[in-house]
Structure formats: structure tokens, C-alpha cells
């Protein structure tokens, strides 16, 4: 393999269409005679629906149909939940509410009209008679009893689970001290810039349904929607055109996706629904939503003996696809980057009158990293140690990998100390501490936060996943030599069209412009899983890589045949199959370079010319494979290979983030002074894309740490219902990031890659919060819950 592209900063091939406004997101696709759907949604958090009067809406100009829960109850199956936990309570989750509504934003009726304006107008004409019921929004209140949300259950507890290894009681018994802290993880709204959207078109004659949806998982959605609406899976095609961000929020199967498909089948016309931002905040999944107590058993020298985390996890009113699974991911990562002999996680997962929580960038792991890192800061404070030193003390050494944790995982590879050292070096850690000391003497409040994280990526082995953890790729070389890569890992901004093309171009020795990566169309691409859990490159990229090896095996066979040589004498280098020097001389007596046939302009397919040649490009071979006149016996024509890669383990990227802040004594304002991140995501395919992922993740962490919170009031009203109140970070909110990397290849896949999509949201919040808390240490503060707003800081400083 020649490294022309892999590891290099290659500009993205998807960008030209995006920067010119020529790309197509769902709402950019227009089909003739499309009808538009708008939803009537509950304004109550919990209520009985006495009646729904749709007559005025149906009589309104342009309105074609109005569907309510009763119309679809026996037509469309429940919204799926892939959680497979013992004794999990799964409420019957219908696409439209039937008798009761359980959260603000719960869809009640779908209005179908000729245009989006008429549909919106008619929503106001649907009269719903509600009878409000007692509401439970607080997860602990829900656990303790409270009004029971689902009549089919006796309480609000979705499940309880205890996990972990090691003798936790012994660990605490042997401890010199323990530290404890209650920690809140507020609900967050993912806020992909493109809200969700669905376009569905049914052809009654062909009995074929196509659904365009802004989703991260076209194939899984196809399977689930086919089951929900009862159409054969092979008659349903799901297309994800350009997807404007997901962050986990589109790793789901939503009511609207099935309902739109079904409506199109009823009306025989294309139907479209584009989510408004208010709907997006109300009825697209939220992230986080845990209230937990962390407790750590330590020795006086800083050695951590055991860790216990008991958490109330807020499921919301229903399970979406992965809702119950998210807290279990928290449980997996409670060992952090440390050797902790005994770990116990106790989950109490509860229903509340709110939208479901589910995977939001990091999905359960940020919660784990955050509590572990906060706990290590508390340990440092308790023992008067430097937070970096407490961490260093508990790291497993690089030589100890694969490293088994008391959460039952085997970390693939790691060198945590090197990353920490590098980050400290870049930050000038010792000097920073000096500066901090001096500043404190001057009355200035500077804080330094350190986070040494590990994340679990490349989700994952199928054994550990609810619906398959592999990924697929087909690599095909067309007769003209163009390379087509079909990946099941359909991206939504990550840049797989470029990174996978880099892999393919290098492996095949072709120019990157000759490679086209196709994704997100179940009618074209073999079954795949999707892009989430920082898996695309490690699992999907590996599938591409291995498919190419398969393809090359065949190409090699053909090359050997065409060069009339012994297989062992033909080698592949720089995109060419060549006879080894000695053999070449004996075959032709010349070693002149060969003009690649595929590059010659030709109206008709040229005939492969092999006579007297010592080498053939892989593109020559592709042509020959399609013309099929010169193939070895028993060789299938064509040159393509498909591979479904099943990883044997997860990957475990890691790193160190150091954040420096200064707080304004008077106002509590928090200003970033420095932000240093050293991440190790294994081998890097495209450093520019990796930096972009890290930047974006850190900024989402800044949002979580300082601004973001989905707030429901006691009655379950969503009070942060628009971007007027839900604060997504802006350019002026973020510092300049100083990034660097260490590179510890993963042994789990042949590319050695680990994944980086969620590193920022996992590694950064503890560093930011740690820095703010550290700035306030002179006031005796040891912990503050996110989001830390200037007012919180001001109250601490002024003793309010």
C-alpha cells in the first residue's frame, strides 16, 4: 500500500456541493404533487384525551386528511425499542397518542394538506379536549412512587440493574477514606442544525415505498418501519440524502418516519414533513438525564480501591430505540482511565412525563467519564494532591494492555501517561500552577481543569449490541476504472466520502478523484448498520479495507493469469500488478512503463492490451474482468467484493484535556484562557477531519458545562422550547483550541484506528467544570453541577 492519502490532510470531496448550496437535504427534494404533513401535539405533559374534533380542520381549504391515534392504532405497529434488559418494562408506544398523552409534544394528530401553509393552518383547527392528569417530571419522585404514568405498569420504574466486578464491600472496608458526591447530568437537546424530516412516496402499482429521512441508520430504519407498517422489507427503500447533523438524535426510529410512509400508502401521493425547531426540542430525543451518587474508596496515598455509582436515569415517557441502553453504557465506562479493582453501578431507570432520552453524542459515556473525573478531582482535593498526579497514580501502564476493567471490558491498547505528559507539556502545566498561585495572591481567580478520559468506540461487537455491531462495504472497480465504494456507515457530516476514499485510493493505488463513496440508500447499498458510537472508520472503514483486500485477491489472480506468470512472482505496488524484476526480464526482456489503459479517452470500451507487458494497473484488470475474455478458469466476471466486518472488541481511545479559565469576581463571568487537548484515536486517516471532530465535541461540552439544559417545569411544560432559551454555543463563546495527538494503534482492526467522533463531548466537560471549580477552590468549593452559569459562580464567591 502506498500512503498518498491516508494520514494526510485531504480536503473533503463532499464540500464542493455543500459550499455552493447544491447539496440535497430531505426538504430540498421536491416531488410533484407532494402533500405536506403538520402535527397536532400535546400541550399537556400528562392528560387524558376525551375527544378530538377534526371536522373544522377537514373542512379547511387544502386539507386532504387528518389522522388521529384511533385511525392508526391497529394499522401501525409500536415504535421500536432495541433494549434487551432483564425485566425491562416497555410501554406500548404508538405513533400517535390514542387515549392519553404522556409528554408535551406527544403527537396526537397528523394533518395532511396541499402545502405546508395549509397544513399548519389546519393544526389550529383540530380541537382536542384534554383532561389533565397528575404529572411527574422528577426522576427521583418517579422512582419513589408519584403518579404512575403507564396504566399497564404498577410503578414508574422501567428497570433496575446492578453491574460491575470486584468485591466492592471489601474495597470500601479497606479504604482509608471515601469521597462522595451527588452529580446531576441535565437533559440536553442535540440540536442538529437540520431538524428531522421525512418524505415518503408510494407507487401503488409497484407496491413500492420510498422514504427519504434525515437519519443515521437507513437500513435499521428500513427494517423497523417495514415491520411497523407491514410492508415487505424489500419493497421499502430508505434514502438518507444529505443529513445535517445527528449527534445521536437521528440514531432512532421515530413515529413520523413510519406514519409518513403509511400516509403515502393511504393517499398514493408523496407526503412530506419537516420538523420545526420547536418540535425538534419537544419531540426529538434528549440526551443525558441522570441523577447519581458517586462514592470512591481510597487509600491515603491516592490509590483508588473501589467506586460505586448509583444513578436514577430519566427515560422520559417512552422508550425510543436505545433509551434503556444508555445508562448501561455509563456502567461500562466507570473505570475511566484507571485501575479500579472493584466497581459497582446501580441503575434505577424511571419513566417521567417528558420526551424520551436516548443517544446524544457520547451516549452514556460522557456521564461515566464526568462522574469518574469529578471523583478524581474530589480525591485530589481530599488528599491535597495535584489532580494530574492522582490520575497518574491510578493509570494502568502501557505494558498492561489489553487491560481488564472491573466493568468487564478489555481495553484494547493505551498509553495514558504519555498523553497526559504531552498535554501538560503543551499547557506548561507547572508554570500554569505557578501563575495560578500568583494570581490568587493578587485576588484573581484562575482555575485549571484536567481530564484524562477513555472512551469506548467502534460500537461494536454484535454480541454487545442490540441489532448488530458489524459494518458492511462493497468495493467495485467499474469497467472504466472508476472505483465505487458502497458503505453501510451512512454519514451525517463526518466526511466518510473523503476518508473512505482515502483508504480505497491508497489500497488500490488510484487517484482519490477516481473513487466515489456511496451511502445512505438501501436500494443501492448492501445492508449496513450506520454511523454512531464513533464506529464509522473503525468498523465501516475496516469493512472497506478488507473488502479491498478481497477484491485484490481476485485482481491478483487475474493479473497473474494475464501476465502469464506464477502467482508468487506478481506483486501489487502503486496501483499496479507487476512481475518481479527477474521474472519480468525473462517474460519480455523489457521494463518500459505502461500507459494505464483506463485513462485513455475512448468512445467504446478499449480492449485490454497485455501482450508483452510486465505490469497492469488494477484498472486494466477491472476492464479485463468485465470484458471477461481473458479470465483464469472458474473466475467470476466483474471486479467487486463485499465484506461484512465483525469487530472482536470495542476500541478505547483516550486522551487528556486541560482547560484554564478565569472567573470574574464581580459578575461570575467565566472566561477561557487556554484549552489544550491531546487525543489518541489510534491511527489517523485524515488529521483535518479528526481536528474537526474534536473541536465540535469540545464545543458541545462547553454548551453542556456552561449553557445547555432542557428545562421542564413541575407541570412538565418545556420552558426552553426554542433557541431563544436553549443556548447553543456561538463563535464568541469558544476559545482557541490547542490540539495535539498521540497515536496508539488499535489491535482490534487492521487499520489500527479507534474513532474520535465523541472524544470531545466525553473528555471536555470534566476539564471545563474542573477548571471552574478549581478557580473557586479558595471559597471551599469542591463541586458544581452543570450548566455552571455566571450566577452560580457569583453566588459562591459572594456566599449567597
Amino acid at each position: 500500500m502506498t500512503n498518498n492519502y491516508v494520514g494526510k490532510r485531504v480536503k473533503r470531496t463532499e464540500d464542493p456541493r455543500l459550499i455552493r448550496g447544491l447539496a440535497h437535504y430531505v426538504d430540498d427534494i421536491s416531488l410533484p404533487n407532494t402533500l405536506h404533513v403538520a402535527f397536532v401535539r400535546s400541550i399537556y405533559a400528562h392528560a387524558k384525551i376525551n375527544s378530538i374534533d377534526t371536522s373544522a380542520a377537514l373542512a379547511a381549504p387544502g386539507v386532504v386528511a387528518v389522522y388521529t391515534g384511533k385511525d392508526v392504532a391497529d394499522k401501525i405497529g409500536p415504535v421500536p425499542c432495541a433494549g434487551a434488559l432483564p425485566d425491562l418494562k416497555v410501554p406500548d408506544h404508538r405513533v400517535l397518542a390514542k387515549d392519553k398523552v404522556y409528554f408535551v409534544g406527544h403527537p396526537i394528530a397528523a394533518v395532511v394538506a396541499k402545502d405546508r401553509y395549509a397544513a399548519r393552518d389546519a393544526v389550529d383547527l383540530v380541537m382536542v379536549d384534554y383532561e389533565d392528569l397528575p404529572v411527574v417530571t422528577d426522576v427521583e419522585a418517579a422512582a419513589a412512587g408519584g403518579p404512575v404514568i403507564h396504566d399497564s405498569f404498577s410503578d414508574n420504574i422501567a428497570y433496575r440493574l446492578t453491574s460491575g466486578e470486584g468485591d466492592i464491600d471489601a474495597a470500601f472496608a479497606a479504604a482509608d477514606r471515601t469521597v462522595k458526591q451527588r452529580i446531576l447530568h441535565r437533559r440536553l437537546a442535540p440540536i442538529a442544525m437540520e431538524p428531522r424530516g421525512v418524505l415518503a412516496r408510494y407507487f401503488p402499482g409497484e407496491e413500492e415505498l420510498t422514504i427519504w429521512s434525515s437519519t443515521q441508520i437507513p437500513h435499521l430504519m428500513r427494517t423497523q418501519v417495514a415491520l411497523m407498517i407491514g410492508i415487505p422489507e424489500n419493497k421499502l427503500r430508505v434514502i438518507t440524502p444529505e443529513v445535517g447533523g445527528g449527534f445521536g438524535s437521528k440514531l432512532n426510529v421515530y413515529s413520523e418516519e413510519a406514519l409518513l410512509g403509511w400516509i403515502s400508502m393511504q393517499l398514493g401521493k408523496p407526503v412530506k414533513w419537516i420538523e420545526t425547531r420547536r418540535e425538534n426540542i419537544q419531540a426529538t430525543i434528549h440526551g443525558r438525564g441522570q441523577v447519581g451518587d458517586i462514592e470512591v474508596a481510597i487509600k491515603n496515598d491516592g490509590t483508588v480501591l473501589g467506586l460505586r455509582y448509583s444513578v436514577f436515569a430519566d427515560m422520559g415517557a417512552y422508550h425510543q430505540l436505545l433509551t434503556p441502553a444508555i445508562p448501561t453504557l455509563t456502567g461500562l465506562m466507570l473505570s475511566g482511565a484507571y485501575r479500579i479493582p472493584a466497581i459497582q453501578m446501580n441503575i434505577t431507570a424511571c419513566f417521567t412525563n417528558k420526551m424520551a432520552t436516548d443517544a446524544y453524542r457520547g451516549a452514556g459515556r460522557p456521564e461515566a467519564t464526568y462522574v469518574v473525573e469529578r471523583a478524581f478531582d474530589l480525591v485530589a482535593a481530599e488528599l491535597g494532591m495535584d489532580p494530574a498526579e492522582v490520575r497518574r497514580k491510578n493509570f494502568p501502564a502501557a505494558s498492561e494492555f489489553p487491560f481488564h476493567t472491573a466493568t468487564g471490558l478489555d481495553y484494547d491498547s493505551g498509553d495514558y501517561e504519555t498523553a497526559l505528559n504531552k498535554a501538560q507539556e503543551i499547557a506548561g502545566y507547572a508554570a500554569l500552577r505557578e501563575e495560578q498561585k500568583k494570581a490568587r495572591e493578587e485576588g484573581r481567580l484562575i482555575g485549571i481543569g484536567v481530564s484524562t478520559y477513555v472512551e469506548i468506540c467502534a460500537l461494536g461487537p454484535s454480541q454487545a449490541m442490540p441489532a448488530g455491531g458489524w459494518e458492511s462495504a462493497t468495493v467495485r472497480i467499474e469497467p472504466t476504472g472508476k472505483v465505487t465504494v458502497l458503505t453501510g456507515a451512512s454519514p451525517h457530516g463526518q466526511g466518510q466520502e473523503t476518508s473512505f476514499a482515502q483508504i480505497a485510493a491508497d489500497e488500490l493505488g488510484v487517484k482519490i478523484n477516481d473513487v466515489t463513496v456511496i451511502h445512505g440508500d438501501t436500494g443501492v447499498v448492501q445492508y449496513g448498520i450506520g454511523t454512531f458510537g464513533s464506529r464509522a472508520t473503525a468498523v465501516g472503514g475496516t469493512a472497506v479495507f478488507v473488502a479491498i483486500q478481497k477484491l485484490k485477491e481476485k485482481a491478483h489472480k487475474i493479473a497473474t493469469h494475464m501476465l502469464q506468470a506464477d502467482a508468487t512472482r506478481v506483486s501489487f505496488e502503486g496501483g499496479k500488478y507487476s512481475l518481479q524484476a527477474a521474472a519480468a526480464a525473462s517474460a519480455t526482456g523489457t521494463s518500459e512503463p505502461v500507459v494505464p489503459v483506463a485513462e485513455a479517452p475512448a468512445a467504446a470500451l478499449p480492449e485490454p492490451q497485455t501482450e508483452g507487458k510486465t505490469s497492469l494497473t488494477i484498472q486494466d484488470i477491472a476492464l479485463a474482468a468485465h470484458i471477461a475474455k481473458e479470465l483464469p478458469p472458474d473466475t467470476e466476471p466483474g471486479l467487486s467484493a463485499t465484506y461484512f466486518f465483525e469487530p472482536k472488541n470495542f476500541t478505547f481511545p483516550f486522551g487528556t484535556h486541560i482547560c484554564v479559565v478565569e472567573v470574574d469576581r464581580e459578575t461570575g463571568d467565566i472566561k477561557f484562557l487556554r484549552y489544550v487537548a491531546v487525543d489518541d484515536c489510534g491511527k489517523v486517516i485524515n488529521p483535518m477531519l479528526v481536528d474537526g471532530q474534536v473541536h465540535g465535541g469540545i464545543v458541545q461540552s462547553i454548551g453542556q458545562a456552561m449553557f445547555e439544559e432542557v428545562v421542564y417545569d413541575e407541570q412538565g411544560q418545556l420552558v426552553t422550547g426554542t433557541l431563544m432559551d436553549y443556548a447553543v454555543p456561538r463563535a464568541s463563546h469558544v476559545p482557541n483550541f490547542e490540539l495535539d495527538r498521540t497515536e496508539t494503534p488499535s489491535p482490534v482492526n487492521p487499520l489500527g484506528v479507534k474513532g474520535v467522533g465523541e472524544a470531545g463531548t466525553i473528555g471536555a466537560t470534566p476539564a471545563i467544570v474542573g477548571a471552574i471549580v478549581d478557580a473557586l477552590a479558595p471559597f471551599g468549593v469542591k463541586h458544581l453541577d452543570m450548566p455552571i452559569k455566571p450566577e452560580n459562580v457569583w453566588r459562591i464567591i459572594n456566599g449567597h
Binding site: I43, I281, D713, T720, M724, D725
Partner: protein, 182 residues
């Protein structure tokens, strides 16, 4: 949302109390109340067209007087729905005699839902305060007007008068066709 406050009125406690339980007076005092009809003892059906600035909405619902302890206490329970959302709440009003009249202390718990709850974070509290102030200003005027006198003119009437005067001026202008530049 909790609302608390007190207002001093220059009228005897009994008079203030009578105003508070009189549907006619209440209709005139509740900002934007277009209709207040008794449907049962101490229960009324109401239509309120209200809002601030360009933000307006119509609410239909019920109001109920409870826990009547003349002349010192009553409880008002309201429940209204409209296009911008719903409004529900209960408020306790305590009346105490003072040297100059009556001090009304109120403590209410109001729940707002729908669009106004999800988009109005910044304004809801202010709107509630403003409406409470309008209510008590009108109530003071009512209570301070002797029984039998014509009722005072509150916001709605003021507004109507303004509209009328605007319309009248416009009509007069049309009739007299004033020259430009005057």
C-alpha cells in the same frame, strides 16, 4: 409559577370584598375579560381576550370562587384554554383592614402551558405582574366608586374611546379634507 403581592386600596374591606365576588365588577377588572357568565353558584364561564403589545390571544374557560370567608378571604380558581396555550391556577386573596382602607394580599400558583410556556420564558412573569397590577388598579377604582355611581372606565373602555376618537378624527378629516402640510 408563583405570584405574590399586595395592593393597598382606599376602600373599606367589606366594599372590596363585595367587588371581588361581583361578576360584573370582576368582568370589568380582569384585563380583556369580554364575558363572565355565571353557570353555577360561584362558578363562571369566561372569555378573555388579552395580551401585551402585539402578542394577543383569546382564552375560554371557567372561574370559580371558593373558600369564601367574608370579608377576609377568598380563593379564585381559574382554568382557561386558547390558541396560544392554556392557563390554570388558583390564588388566595386575603383582605386586611388598614388605616386608609384595605390591604389585599395575594398568593397564586399559576400554570401556563402550550406555546406561551415554551416560547415566553422571558416575558411570562412580567406579563403576569402587569396583569395583576392592571387588575388591582381597576379593582381599586371600582371599590373607591360608591355603590350606585356609574362604574369607572378601565383599560378596555379607555382603549375603546381611543379607537373611537381615532375613527372620528379620520372620518372628520375625510369630510373636511384638510390641506396637506398643515
Amino acid at each position: 409559577m408563583k405570584l405574590e403581592g399586595s395592593h393597598e386600596l382606599n376602600a373599606p374591606r367589606e366594599r372590596v370584598y363585595q367587588c371581588l365576588v361581583s361578576p360584573e365588577v370582576l368582568q370589568r377588572c380582569i384585563p380583556g375579560c369580554e364575558r363572565l357568565e355565571q353557570t353555577a353558584e360561584n362558578t363562571f364561564a369566561a372569555t378573555i381576550r388579552t395580551g401585551v403589545g402585539s402578542i394577543k390571544g383569546v382564552f375560554n374557560g371557567t372561574a370559580r370562587l371558593e373558600d369564601l370567608r367574608e370579608p377576609e378571604h377568598l380563593r379564585l380558581v381559574v382554568d382557561g384554554k386558547g390558541a396560544p396555550g392554556f392557563l390554570k391556577g388558583a390564588g388566595d386573596l386575603d383582605l386586611a383592614s388598614t388605616e386608609t382602607g384595605t390591604k389585599v394580599t395575594y398568593a397564586a400558583d399559576v400554570q401556563v402551558g402550550g406555546t406561551i410556556a415554551s416560547v415566553g420564558q422571558r416575558m411570562i412573569q412580567g406579563t403576569a405582574k402587569m396583569m395583576a397590577a392592571q387588575f388591582f388598579t381597576s379593582l381599586a377604582a371600582e371599590a373607591e366608586t360608591a355603590v350606585g355611581e356609574p362604574p369607572p372606565q378601565h383599560g378596555f373602555f379607555r382603549t375603546a374611546l381611543r379607537w373611537f376618537s381615532g375613527w372620528a378624527t379620520k372620518t372628520l378629516r375625510k369630510i373636511f379634507k384638510p390641506q396637506k402640510g398643515t
